[in-house]
């Protein structure tokens, strides 16, 4: 069965959550095999650059320890994780919050669309990361510069994906709604919003990876905050297991966000996951 094919209802965790228990088990086994391969490689390489997974996990556990949660040292793993996560979540929130309404507005207002859309598509492929030194000059070393940069990247990705998807509504859908007496609000409520939801989530899932990559660059280039700095600091002081801990944590942040978006998508997109066997999926 292809990964996109809906799982039969009896094999699902929740009706709408299109996931197989078996698939999770396989993932777990895969991860164990990966860890085993890593272990074998590390033992054979016998290098300080490549500690065994056991060593890294042990360090992970040590790095998680703290005396006072309200007064963590600046470069504590939890503190840096919190800072980085906050930056990503804020940026994604602001980026989506600006891009989706703008895309929906432009799709419906033809005159504005004609003026703004070519420009936005023109700017989309420009690499935003290269503006980081400039952004830091203007916005300083704190959260603002990082959040601004990631927001910029996310905004364009989400805008382009949502604008493309909502611009392709079949004419008969619009005409049938129009013949039912629909006004602008109804088109938004019954056509553009629902059709934008899958696009928003596609954009979110793709953007999470991009956001974390940009975050990493933004945090290594200057300043002493975030997981990017945590990794860089460990690297420069030759504390390799700690560096691995930082890398794993950053992956974990990405994974958690990805899973969160995925679950939300499954819930909001029930109409697309409805299986053909006639079972009602979700509420």
């Amino acid at each position: 069965m292809s990964p996109n094919a809906p799982a039969p209802p009896h094999d699902r965790f929740f009706g709408w959550l299109n996931i197989r228990a078996g698939a999770l088990l396989i993932l777990l086994v895969d991860l164990l095999i990966l860890a085993a391969l890593w272990h074998v490689a590390a033992v054979n390489a016998d290098s300080a650059f490549l500690p065994t997974p056991g060593v890294v996990m042990e360090r992970f556990w040590e790095e998680l320890q703290f005396e006072d949660i309200h007064n963590l040292p600046p470069n504590h793993l939890l503190n840096q994780t919190f800072i980085s996560t906050r930056r990503v979540v804020l940026s994604v929130g602001i980026g989506v919050g600006l891009a989706v309404p703008l895309a929906l507005l432009l799709v419906q207002v033809k005159a504005l669309n004609a003026i703004l859309t070519p420009l936005l598509y023109f700017l989309f492929p420009a690499p935003k990361v290269v503006f980081l030194p400039l952004i830091i000059l203007f916005l300083g070393l704190g959260d603002n510069a990082r959040v601004f940069l990631i927001t910029l990247v996310i905004f364009f990705q989400v805008f382009v994906i949502v604008h493309d998807a909502t611009g392709q509504v079949p004419t008969e859908t619009l005409e049938s709604l129009s013949s039912l007496g629909a006004g602008r609000w109804h088109f938004l409520r019954y056509v553009y919003l629902p059709i934008s939801i899958p696009a928003v989530f596609t954009a979110l899932k793709i953007s999470t990876g991009t956001a974390i990559a940009v975050l990493f660059i933004a945090e290594t280039i200057a300043g002493r905050t975030g997981l990017g700095y945590y990794i860089k600091a460990a690297d420069q002081t030759f504390v390799y297991p700690t560096m691995y801990v930082g890398v794993l944590m950053l992956c974990l942040v990405g994974l958690v966000l990805f899973v969160f978006f995925w679950v939300a998508e499954q819930y909001l997109n029930r109409w697309q996951n409805s299986d053909q066997t006639g079972h009602k999926v979700g509420g």
Binding site: S176, L177, P194
Partner: protein, 264 residues
Amino acid sequence: MTITQQTSARHSAGNRQQTPILSLEGVTFGYARTPLLDNFTWHIARGETWSVLGPSGSGKTTLLYLLAGLRRPQAGRITFKGQAVTKPNPAIGLMLQAYGLLPWLTAERNVQLGLKIRRVLKKERHRIRAEWMERMQISHIAGKYPAQLSGGQRQRVALARVLALQTEVLLLDEPLSAVDELTRERLQKTLREITAELNSTMVLVTHSVEEAALLTQNVLIFPEEGTLRASRVLCSPFSADKPPHRTDPDFQAFCAEIRAELGL
């Protein structure tokens, strides 16, 4: 012979004669390389039921779009109760050939969509929805999404959606084409009852000669080739007091008459 001459001839022969509810006067319409209507005049009186028959691509659907206010004539005038039709009118219900269901709404939500747009109160909305889903025999699929339905089921959802609005005018584009034979016969009967009961004016685009003869009093025939200018109209020998029946020799004769007009 023009269409106006023919209808008035029939009307004077006994039918009620009144100001038309829908009128096309000298309407010309076409797409880039295919002119469809040329200076076409057609009057539909309140309560009249019409079928539109003709080859594919002859402009039958376009005619409905014009009546629904989704297309503007390039020349001429379309009026509804004397007012020019320039945009969709809430008193005119249209069912598209492609159904126009929203894939992200369940069948029942699709059915009540028009009512919701018209701000019908929730309780009333649910009552009307249940009633029409029952009549279209789709109550059992209320919670399913269009992708889970068969073509015939989707068609019935679309039909229930437009019927639930109880509009003065019903424009239906092949409403039963995808429904299985048994259900179609039952629904044809239901449609007959409904139009009689609501006294709605109906224009039905169809490919089925029997359906036209069974459901409507008048049949408008699109020409094999060229534009619709002076088209042919046939009137049914049946009435509300004397409904047609498939086995009736008069019915068979009427079907034969339509077939002859179509060149079949």
